[in-house]
Symmetry: C2
Subunit: 218 residues, 2 copies
Amino acid sequence: MADTGTQTPRERYRAQVRAEIKEHAWEQLATAGASALSLNAIAKRMGMSGPALYRYFASRDELITELVRDAYQSLADTFRAAATPGPDAPALAHALRGWALRDPHRYLLVYGTPVPGYQAPDDVTTIARDIMATLLDACAALPSDAPATPFDSHLEEHREWADGHPAPPAVLHRALTFWTRLHGTLSLELAGHFTGMGFDPALLYAAELDALTGPSTH
Amino acid sequence: MADTGTQTPRERYRAQVRAEIKEHAWEQLATAGASALSLNAIAKRMGMSGPALYRYFASRDELITELVRDAYQSLADTFRAAATPGPDAPALAHALRGWALRDPHRYLLVYGTPVPGYQAPDDVTTIARDIMATLLDACAALPSDAPATPFDSHLEEHREWADGHPAPPAVLHRALTFWTRLHGTLSLELAGHFTGMGFDPALLYAAELDALTGPSTH
DNA sequence: TGTACATCAGTGAACGCGCGTTCACTGATGTAC
DNA sequence: TGTACATCAGTGAACGCGCGTTCACTGATGTAC
């Protein structure tokens, strides 16, 4: 990630094995679920002995933390890329859904049922704020015609989470709404609650997006 | 649940112990998470030996299935109670949030990250449809002024999930939207994604409800 | 270019643990005559 | 009311398993002179 140029061969090898461990971890996450993640199983699938992994991760918890961090970072990168041509809420929405469907377990590691007792490290919060900032930019660029609601004034007094972003409360509200509505359809879809219902989840998602941005953008 | 009158003492005792096991299971679910549910641990906390529980549940999976079923049924009952004075969407919304906050792990067992490989039994689907029916009734009673969307016509052709309910597509759409939006804020709140953000999740939830029903109902 | 030494990846054995589940058994509770 | 039998709740031992993690060790890779 940083300083790739001045790596010694040993450092490069370490980074490579670490990455390979994480790849196997993702695989295992996808097939067996988050709580079944086992260092021994990963080692076995890599053709190594169990204790060998302790050269690369101090504990199982550290590996999970790393996976969570990577998941957040990957979403932040995806968002940033979707917003590079300029702030664009529909583009963010599509990027979010694509990112989630590409690897549902990565999405669930971030937004799924929290692991009891697990505490996300500080830098994850930083990345989360970065994601929110991109979203706020996009919502600020949206044409605004919605009337002010009581919740808007509540937000005016509780805007620390916007991290200094100059958006007016209506935009803060819209960003939150954007976030919760898309997450609502997406998480129900990923949890399988729409299977067997007949309709196309993608269209429901698109309908929610339209309601948020105005049908004109479609 | 059924036939309580003609129970023999032995049957009554069985039912009692089964209930006690489930209570301990919920407790353990709340403290250790869904995947850490252990028959042995439950038995120990009840002052029994591990194998004793096999008189009451054929396996760990059967116990979990029973918990899932109970969770669905309890939501269905809550919904039905909230709709007894008459179909009332805001009442359902408040009932849903109350039900979720009263026991977050029960909510998460239904709507959280799905356990890989776990397949819900058929009667759960039946209960889920019952819940949806109550919601459809409430949405049908709501004043309707929204313009028809492209998704509405898609729903017109994919309405099997409404299980014969005569609601027009706009109502189907509204019911789905009701469901996904409330779930969106609720699940993010329960997963802790709003902690440290400053605003009051209850107000965001109320704002979403207002947007769904029109501010007049508040 | 060669030798001595330090670094470090990986191994295998071991520890203690808890899990789900089976099995043969004991002892109490209920039933039939 | 009393005896013989069937039912069934619960026990303790056992099986096999996989887990996270530690430890002392081997052997290869890099570094310093």
